[in-house]
Symmetry: C2
Subunit: 130 residues, 2 copies
DNA sequence: GCGATCCTTCCAGTCGCTGGAAGGGTTGCG
DNA sequence: CGCAACCCTTCCAGCGACTGGAAGGATCGC
């Protein structure tokens, strides 16, 4: 199958698939005219990658996950470790954003939001804390 | 004051300050030898930028915020609008990450994390849902 | 005069794509 | 057979907001 079809079937954009080939995540064959040819295995791999990316795993994590997936002698502990590290990073990011959110809500609440130029948000950004 | 001092005083790295000059957020003077010279106003501006960036405002938002800050005829409603739009984006991001987090927790829970190669995480990524 | 520390510019890299240009191949229809 | 429509290719540039590093010049204290 060619790139358009595998793109539709895997849900991964053609551009992204070419990029994944560039960085060595997949190695499709080529027809004599230069078109990429993908196998069912490539389709599985791309779907796997699509799901992993949706869970927020980095490309390097995905590389490791695929290696583990194809390693019959893997220990599930290694996969779990990788996933838990990722989870930790996601939770850290959430905490940061929630902190941001709380500060934003706080300053927004104090701002009248009317025609007057007096603005608690600007005051706060300018360092004039209340 | 030169870039090292304003960097220390504002908490904004020198590299970042040069970058901000590049993109027109600040316009320091220059000494005859080419060194940047910063005023107290620049210090206020950089501190303002530092605080806005900590709240997650984009550079373009910061540009708008500074314009509003320096516009005596502003309406606080405009600032509040900008901040609320940003808050919306932050909350959206949080929701996305929480969704990710929930999925991750779910798959991680189902993985033994032992010496066996059987792994619910890989199964899930491979499309074999339980 | 010398070394340490400052400053300068410019280029490249981060991350994971995404858009677009320029060009060639294939398919289907009249 | 000609043509349009649509597929494919490569390569380059850009996103956001910096950050690291190289190469070189200026200043400062001893």
């Amino acid at each position: 199958m060619n790139i358009g079809e595998i793109s539709k079937r895997s849900g991964v954009p053609a551009k992204t698939i070419r990029y994944y080939e560039d960085i060595g995540l997949i190695q499709p064959e080529r027809t004599p005219n230069g078109y990429r040819v993908f196998s069912e295995t490539d389709l599985h791999r791309l779907s796997f990658l699509g799901r992993a990316r949706k869970l927020g795993f980095s490309i390097e994590d995905c590389r490791a996950l695929i290696r583990l997936y194809e390693d019959e002698a893997r220990a599930s502990a290694e996969v779990k470790d990788l996933a838990m590290n990722h989870l930790g990073r996601v939770e850290e990011k959430i905490a940061q954003l929630q902190h941001m959110r709380n500060s934003l809500v706080e300053v927004i609440e104090d701002c009248a939001g009317d025609h007057s130029p007096d603005c608690a948000i600007l005051d706060r950004l300018a360092g004039r804390m209340l």
